[in-house]
């Protein structure tokens, strides 16, 4: 793998292009979590009573937060990167410079992660305004760091899909068959306790399940069993997925 500080240059290029879209993307990033929190948190939550001694909204926020990061990072590394490869040919001009293909890909994954962080932070701002705050200031900081990591994980995963995508339509398979099920079966909206055993096992294989567990525990300050294993698993997965994504992208880019 050929990585250096030049990853930052690729990130910088994205920042330049982002300038023009900041306002619309901020709006979109704000509206979606607002909908989730209002419909599920306030609307449905009113019928659900206390969730472990607290309003449902407190259970929901950390999960939706993690989902927002996953979504933003994934979409950026699916559609955003695909456009840069196939339509705008940004990658072609990049790899003719001293920037390597690996750096271009890593820069875009980092960019996806940044977009995830922006979405997550906006989400958190909404949650704060609704009175759902992280348990302490350092937990707040820890959440920001965790969001960057979650962005890298799902950005890399999306990058693998992009590396073999023949067209835009291909991404529907990934979003409908992987992303959406994860959103519903990873304990974002309700605890997994009532699932039958096999479904619990299945959920255990979904990275978002572990992301949500960590996010919730850090946010609320409530301990959860096996959290260290969840984190270790995610770290290993991220390293593996990142390595595979740069390899596969190199195959697509260099012929």
């Amino acid at each position: 793998m050929s990585l250096s500080y030049r990853v930052a240059y690729v990130f910088l290029r994205n920042l330049y292009s982002y300038k023009r879209f900041v306002v619309p993307t901020f709006l979109v990033s704000l509206i979606e979590p607002l909908f989730y929190l209002i419909t599920f948190g306030i609307g449905m939550g009113a019928y659900m009573g206390a969730f472990g001694g607290k309003p449902y909204l407190h259970f929901l926020v950390p999960g939706v937060l993690a989902t927002a990061v996953m979504m933003s990072a994934s979409f950026e590394c699916l559609y955003g990167t695909y456009i840069k490869i196939v339509h705008e040919k940004v990658y072609d001009s990049l790899i003719a410079t001293p920037v390597s293909a690996d750096e271009a890909v890593a820069g875009d994954i980092l960019w996806g992660s940044f977009r995830g962080l922006v979405s997550g932070s906006l989400m958190m701002a909404v949650a704060l305004a609704m009175g759902v705050a992280p348990a302490s200031a350092w937990r707040f900081a820890l959440l920001l760091v965790f969001m960057v990591f979650v962005g890298v994980l799902f950005g890399s995963l999306a990058m693998i899909v992009t590396s073999i995508a023949p067209s835009f339509d291909f991404f529907s398979y990934y979003t409908e068959l992987v992303i959406t099920p994860m959103m519903f079966f990873s304990g974002v909206f309700f605890p997994l306790d009532n699932f039958p055993g096999w479904m619990k096992t299945l959920a255990g294989f979904m990275p978002l399940t572990h992301v949500v567990r960590i996010s919730r525990s850090v946010y609320t300050g409530e301990a959860a069993p096996g959290l260290g294993w969840s984190l270790a698993g995610l770290l290993v997965l991220a390293a593996v997925v990142f390595t595979i994504s740069t390899r596969m992208m190199r195959k697509r880019l260099i012929k």
Binding site: K89, V90, P98
Partner: protein, 309 residues
């Protein structure tokens, strides 16, 4: 040329395969420091593949390719730093302005902000785009975009400039401006590698050319030498049906001209076409044209006059 400059690019047995397809088939050539070297050929001849290997974005399958004494390899940042690429496809960054395109590119080459700004001002003047500095790419004409590609390729002050069909789709004014700029760069000491399908472009710019076809080099030489050797000085074209060939050729046995029949036309390649032309007019063949031989004749003779699709 009495004392040829040292070679900047040396290829020997250079081969590129995509699966079973052989795109470049064991070619050898030398590009000297400070010259303009052209790759001519129809679509699919292997020109672009060859120059992509030279500027290190496509790996060599077999054979050797040295640029500035170093092996051309994908991760060879030193080579990429000394090379400027004017791509065939316009791949400017549409999300960025003209100036931002160049700023970002300068960064890729580790050029500091202050230095980059000075170079950008100079380059925009060079390609006559000073007034467009803040424009979006979508506001530029094709000619302007091509000129911006040249400015972008020069941001790192390259020793080697690779131009892959740099005037495709341009009107004559825009094309001539680009030719002037490329000649100017050469006179400043840069080495130019050009691919083109336009014979006039090759004749205008190149010191030496190779004609490529189906991954191989068919001929190498200076443009005028190739025309002289392959065709002669003049071409006489006679538009007559093929049935008349025997009759006409019988009358022309005394003329030292090679001939070729393609479609509705009989071509004669001569040192001097005037006498032949007279004879043809005597034979009452008015549909006849006498013109100087060009690189296009060489190209068509070597690669065939039929379509390459």
């Amino acid at each position: 040329m009495s004392d040829p400059s040292p070679a900047l690019v040396t290829a020997s047995g250079l081969t590129k395969k995509y699966g079973d397809l052989v795109a470049v088939d064991g070619i050898s050539f030398e590009i000297r420091e400070g010259e303009c070297f052209g790759f001519l050929g129809p679509n699919g001849a292997g020109k672009t593949t060859t120059v992509r290997m030279i500027h290190c974005v496509s790996p060599v399958t077999a054979g050797s390719l040295l640029v500035g004494g170093l092996p051309a390899a994908i991760d060879n940042r030193d080579l990429k730093k000394m090379t400027g690429v004017i791509p065939q496809e316009i791949n400017l960054d549409n999300d960025l302005t003209v100036h931002e395109n160049l700023i970002v590119f300068a960064r890729f080459f580790d050029i500091g902000r202050r230095e980059a700004k000075a170079r950008i001002a100079e380059l925009l003047r060079f390609v006559e785009l000073e007034a467009k500095s803040g424009s979006k790419i979508s506001e530029l004409s094709t000619g302007m975009k091509r000129r911006l590609l040249i400015a972008r390729a020069l941001i790192n002050r390259p020793r080697l400039i690779v131009a892959d069909e740099p005037t495709t789709g341009l009107d004559p004014q825009a094309r001539h401006l680009i030719w002037q700029r490329l000649r100017q760069l050469k006179s400043q000491g840069a080495t130019l590698v050009l691919t083109t399908q336009y014979m006039e472009e090759a004749q205008q710019l190149c010191d030496r050319i190779v004609v490529m076809y189906q991954g191989k080099i068919l001929k190498e030489g200076t443009p005028s030498r190739l025309v002289e050797d392959e065709i002669g000085r003049e071409v006489v074209e006679v538009r007559v049906p093929p049935e008349d060939d025997a009759r006409i050729l019988g009358q022309l046995a005394s003329f030292p001209c090679a001939h070729e029949r393609v479609g509705d036309t009989l071509y004669f390649y001569c040192r001097e076409g005037h006498a032949l032309m007279r004879k043809l007019l005597e034979l009452d063949l008015p549909n006849t044209l006498n013109r100087p031989a060009t690189l296009e004749d060489v190209f068509l003779k070597l690669t065939g006059r039929s379509l390459h699709e």
